[in-house]
Amino acid sequence: MKSLWFTLAITLSVFVQPVRAETPQQILSAYTAEAARQTANYKPSPDRGRQFFTQHRSTHEKMPNCAACHGDNPTTAGRHVITNKTLEPLAPVSGSERFTSATKVEKWFRRNCGEVVGRECTAAEKADFLRYLLSTVGA
């Protein structure tokens, strides 16, 4: 009987396994590959990523750029400019769950790019941005 329960538990655990966690590097690689298919010799640039993060736009009056909510320094906590909610640091610093689910990352790019940039972001912009965030780790 005991072994039956054990087998059942093992079987169930296989089914309820969450989607395997991804690493920020894997997500960066995927965006880089996509961008390279669109632009020959594309290489992610932390400088372009930083510019993307801080560039002022005119789509949303209260949220002119990413930094409006996420703060100028992505390794420290941000503050939502409308709700004042404290936002976890964007940079995937140790212990952070940032950029460990490609689905979640894509969802937030879609939502926030639409709101702040006024359009979907390109794979190159996403790769640059993630490259920038990874370059800030340990800074």
Binding site: K62, K85, R111, E115
Partner: protein, 146 residues
């Protein structure tokens, strides 16, 4: 008993029941739906569903593209899941203290009553800046008791 006495009695009963309702501890559902938690608390406090009526939540969920100045749209599946989670624990439509024409919880009679005497400067002093940032003052680690 004279009519006026009945009136006084009715007023006392009404006032007592209103006070009981308004001093009730507000809790989140025991097992918050993970989609609801992830989608809504990404930007703001996870507001207990019982703070608005069922009709209010339905109206709010129908216009996520114009969500208090933000486009908070989610996909259809997530919208249905979140709406269901909210309606399960929402205040009934008969609970007028939890209704708000603006769909803002801070505009409900319940919220106004509970925070009567709390001036905006107090909210500002606590770093909330606005009354909708509950956790600036209500610091409960498990977010269960307000």
């Amino acid at each position: 008993m004279r009519t006026s006495n009945y009136l006084i009695l009715a007023a006392v009963v009404l006032a007592t029941s209103a006070c009981t309702n308004w001093s009730e501890r507000i809790t989140l559902p025991a097992n918050p739906d993970p989609v609801w938690r992830a989608e809504c608390s990404g930007c703001h406090t996870l507001y207990p569903p019982k703070l608005l009526t069922q009709s209010d939540w339905k109206a709010l969920m129908a216009r996520l593209d114009k969500h208090f100045g933000v486009n908070a749209s989610v996909d259809d599946k997530a919208r249905e899941t979140i709406t269901l989670a909210l309606l399960q624990d929402a205040a009934p439509d008969s609970s007028s203290g939890n209704h708000s024409d603006t769909l803002r919880i801070t505009d409900t009679p319940w919220h106004r009553n509970r925070h009567a005497g709390t001036s905006i400067p107090v909210w500002r002093k606590n770093g909330a800046d606005k009354p909708s940032n509950c956790n600036a003052c209500h610091k409960n680690q498990d977010e269960q008791l307000w």
